[in-house]
Subunit: 455 residues, 2 copies
């Protein structure tokens, strides 16, 4: 394999800050040679995937650190290029000095995402796999992690490849018909074509539909809790957050302000909107009731409307609110929660329309969580199905579906093959942009520039 890039790039690959070890990545045609110029051993004859202890020094011989250097032969590295990883002590000063030394011997500081971009350009990963790396690193929950990992492992890519092959088969049938158009021959069995386009279209539509779930998993689901004063919103919030926080705050570097207002249920992150208001200034803010909540509702995907079932007419009132919210915001999911079921005055009457809980006693909380999960997951299967979580992929799928729909319609009207062929070519083009079989410099620049340096 021949790499297409002539220069050798370098960057710090580990997070910023102080720790025991940091990694500096070097990739390019002269990676061994350039690092050897700063290292106490010559890397030229080293076997790929071996580690070498030595002294890293500046080109003029100033000792910088004791390091472990790992070599990756061209074709066997992440980027596909000759690569070196330098593991040094994780001091900002040392990392800076090593980078400066590498630049002095002719390396260039890598652009954001440039290692991944080279891996793509050298055919080591496709575009959707490269994008999965960023998602994988950002993943905070089991499901977000699982979706990104599957994508990185190429599950999504191989499904797309299957679809693409079906479309190629379809196109070849249509094109064959086209070649003999003047003879007015229909080689392709149009009923087979129809079945095929229906099948692929349904699959693409299902993938596109999974984006709502994928996006919710990737970015979290904004939830608003609204209700009259003293309904128990703050108690419910504490119940929901209570158990979760202790688990999340363990071990890794999740920041405290993220934990504070998010809730991880079954690997889905719910972002509770404006809970500071509920918590800290309860009376003042709650006093304004539903009016005050308008802002929160606009930001939310799920609205929990809370009633105090110990108060006569409270549930009726909340049902009315919920109806208004649903009419104004048809994209929102509204859940009606009747609190204080232990002292309820009307639990039987409304048992179909509201979820009865006691936030104080912890009754019904599990059911509420199940409800929240059910709303997000719908009929998708997280373990078996591919869930699309990247908006670029979603856009491409929507475009693909549009062209396929046109092809389907045109087939139905018995239009000539050249129109259908055009639709199919467009669908294949759009589908190809996901994996990068079709790509432009603009598209690539746009994708990789969002990566961090060192990736």
């Amino acid at each position: 394999m021949n790499s297409t890039f002539s220069d050798t790039i370098c960057a710090i690959a580990t997070p910023n800050g102080v720790g025991a070890i940091a990694i500096i990545r070097v990739s390019g045609k002269e990676a061994y040679q350039k690092v050897s110029a700063c290292f106490s051993k010559d890397l030229a004859d080293k076997t790929s995937h071996t580690v070498h202890f030595g002294i890293f020094k500046s080109p003029v011989g100033v000792f910088i650190d004791e390091v472990l250097v790992t070599v990756f032969q061209e074709g066997k590295s992440f980027t596909g290029e000759e690569s070196v990883e330098i593991a040094c002590h994780a001091s900002p000063y040392i990392q800076q000095q090593i980078i400066l030394a590498l630049i002095e011997v002719g390396c260039r500081l890598a652009n954001p995402g440039e290692f991944s971009m080279r891996a793509f350009a050298n055919g080591k990963v496709d575009l959707s796999q490269a994008e999965a790396i960023a998602d994988l690193i950002a993943a905070q929950t089991k499901n977000a992690h699982s979706i990104a990992l599957k994508q990185l492992r190429g599950n999504f890519s191989s499904e797309l490849k299957d679809l693409r092959e079906k479309l190629i088969h379809f196109a070849s049938l249509v094109e064959l018909e086209l070649d003999f158009a003047e003879e007015d021959v229909e080689f392709a069995d149009r009923s087979e074509l129809k079945t095929l386009v229906n099948e692929v279209l349904a699959y693409i539509q299902r993938l596109a539909a999974s984006f709502e779930l994928g996006n919710a998993i990737k970015n979290g689901v904004p939830v608003a809790i609204v209700g009259a004063p003293n309904t128990g919103k703050s108690t419910l919030l504490n119940q929901l957050l209570g158990e979760d926080r202790a688990i999340v705050s363990n071990i890794a570097g999740t920041t405290r302000d993220v934990i504070e207002e998010t809730l991880n249920i079954d690997g889905i992150l719910y972002r509770l909107i404006d809970t500071a208001g509920i918590r800290e200034n309860a009376e003042e803010i709650e006093a304004m009731g539903i009016e005050r909540s308008r802002e929160k509702i606009i930001q939310a995907n799920i609205v929990l409307c809370m009633a105090d079932s110990s108060v006569p007419n409270s549930i009726e009132e909340v049902l009315q609110w919920a109806k208004e919210i649903q009419e104004t915001h048809q994209d929102k999911k509204v859940v009606i929660v009747a609190n204080k079921q232990d002292i309820s005055v009307n639990s039987i009457e409304f048992s179909e329309k509201a979820l009865f809980i006691s936030a104080k006693e912890g009754v019904g909380i599990e059911e509420l969580k199940e409800k929240l999960v059910e709303i997000v997951i719908g009929d998708f299967s997280l373990s078996d199905e591919t869930i699309v979580s990247n908006i670029r992929h979603y856009d491409a799928l929507i475009k693909t579906a549009y062209s396929l729909q046109k092809a389907k319609d045109n087939l139905a009207t018995g239009i000539t093959a050249d129109f259908v062929a055009m639709d199919i070519r467009q669908a294949m083009y759009d589908l190809g942009t996901i994996t990068g079989d079709i790509s432009t410099d603009d598209l690539l620049g746009n994708i990789f520039s969002k990566f961090c340096i060192g990736k």
Copy 2:
């Protein structure tokens, strides 16, 4: 070599946060076996210092990440134990899952500094080398880095070893005399003993004296700029900080508030005290003049007393201030700076006592910087001499010097050999604590608990 620890420890070794790569370290008798239980390849037969790509999974088979695993055979690793380094994608979630999986297969989360502690216990580094790692990571300047690196490379340790050997030679001579004490024989040539003790004592005292410089290099040198209103303190501050900041703020993760008020001259960090006062509330604060500066002076090692040489009597006044400061704080270095030399009314008269500058024109700034460096470095040679920067080492050197001084005094008075032998034994004991030839669990616990986890 047989490791003394029975369990296998693990920890994240790279800084917290998000990046491309993170490293998880595993060390102990069963490192290969335990990691193999979570990895797609068996590490048992892998050659030391080789890297293996594969899937890291939980013990029940849940995919966690694609990783690179490096193996280090017992005796050839940092800790001296069988070790594995797992390079994963730097997501907090993934790192957490990998650590949890390792704990499930029987690893234990490492205590702070436990990897270094094991390296010490297994004879891979001595105590002063282990301590140097922490200093190396914290080093922000060329000199701090250079001192720590020399210490890590064992320069200090080998000097101490030489000194210890001289003391052992000395002790053996004295003990020989002791064996024959009843026969009243003086085997040891007392003049040779005197020369030897003088030589070692002088060396130890020089090392101890270097601590002031070492500490200044390690922790920075606090500097106060004081003077009457409108003397030009703020202008001088800008001149001093001006050029430096652009260089420091590059590349690595130095925090902005550190940069703001520090000045790196020739690899020494000067911390400018209360410059916010000078910068932001200039008039109000400056109006209180020298009185107001008392607090700053107490915190400083170097006090820059500024005069406005365009104002008659200003220099006399500042010389008087400086005299008072020096009398009250004999440990401070006072530098008298006469600003506005371009419009000075008395530059010749005081040219011996004050450094004439023009902060506005940038005249004399280099000379001032040289002066600041000269004050800190004194007659030490940063390139050739060992500079002690660790307060524990300083304490041990002071104790050693105390015992040697006693030995010297006792030799001079012709006291019997057993007293001298006691002094020498004490000196050897104290010197031995630096490298850990002499150590207690308390001492070790105290040293390593200050390290970060993963080190």
